[in-house]
């Protein structure tokens, strides 16, 4: 049986990360285990660890990978929309769709990881905190544009909008995974639409998971 070629190393690296992200979304970043990862991938523990060095580096790479998925699923689809309320609504749409399609098997990775690490100092927590701050800043920026364009009531605090959107997403995630409430994304979408003050009921498509 031939050994894996050097060119396959990147593929192995990606496979480990993919499995790691799924595992961590269910078991948590700390519950994630090198041995479990090795068993699932039919590798040795040393083979897995060789790609990252330490568990903390593995955790960081896992967080970065999950962040990329979140950005692709929620941020990117909304970039074609015009800045301001239109883009906030597009983000809300993509966000609820993302939560409804179970992109991560254990629920929203960012919410789970943030809640798990919000009390422990370290690089993982810092990475999560910075990512969440950046995301909130993105939301607040469009909220600010919406206020300036008078798409939102004058005097609206952009940070209140960002906070509210994030909170609703966390609530949807909990309702969906703790209670198995399949209608949670719809409820969240209604709440978001109310908060963003869309006067006409905009029809929203909830894509199915293929």
């Amino acid at each position: 049986m031939p050994r894996r070629s050097v060119a396959d190393a990147a593929r192995t690296h990606a496979a480990i990360l993919e499995r790691s992200i799924d595992l961590a979304s269910v078991e948590g970043l700390e519950g994630l285990t090198i041995g479990r990862l090795a068993t699932d991938l039919q590798m040795s523990k040393a083979g897995v660890l060789g790609h990252f060095g330490t568990k903390e580096e593995l955790q960081l790479a896992t967080v970065r990978g999950a962040l990329a998925i979140f950005a692709r699923e929620v941020w990117e689809p909304a970039q074609e929309a015009a800045p301001g309320r239109a883009r906030l609504l597009a983000i809300a749409d993509a966000w609820m769709s993302y939560l409804g399609r179970d992109v991560f098997p254990g629920g929203c990775f960012m919410t789970a990881a943030s809640t798990e690490f919000d009390g422990r100092p370290g690089r993982v927590r810092d990475t999560l905190a910075r990512a969440n701050e950046r995301w909130m800043a993105v939301l607040a920026a469009d909220a600010r544009a919406a206020v300036k364009a008078e798409e939102l009531p004058r005097g609206t605090d952009p940070q209140d909008i960002a906070f509210g959107m994030n909170a609703i997403a966390m609530g949807v995630n909990q309702a969906r995974h703790l209670h198995g409430d399949a209608s949670a994304p719809d409820r969240g979408w209604r709440a978001l639409r109310t908060m963003l003050g869309a006067p006409r009921a905009r029809r929203r498509a909830l894509p199915r998971n293929p």
Copy 2:
């Protein structure tokens, strides 16, 4: 050195639980460890485990203890208020105060535990899910009363109110512990007041941690 008297067993039991709740709010219910608990309490692992039998029973007892604290801090203070919007506002007040006073050192225990266990079957998850359902039902009941008394707009879905209040609390908890945002309870209180449609700005007291 005299052995502990039998009458002290209940006190020991309570001391273990108290430490367990604090530990679990930081490290998580799974990160909670018998050995760590024993070290902190200057007991043997066997002595700690003897009170609960298995780790799962310890986790369940810890959840029940934390639930009692949450009820005492958030539910009880609002029971003197009249049913309907007044009580919802009282709950909102107590809830934000609870989050601002860091009743649990690692943030809201229920949020952390629910997020940690929402993907793993078992009795702990069931207990958490049932508790959250009951709490949401309590909120929805007062919301229903408020709608009936026309304190909230006709046609308001009581479950939307319960969902929204819970989501805001989760958002406040994250902002406070992931970002160290001390003003998060105030922001949450503003959001809650807006959602509950309090027309006059009601002054809210944020008690200090003694």
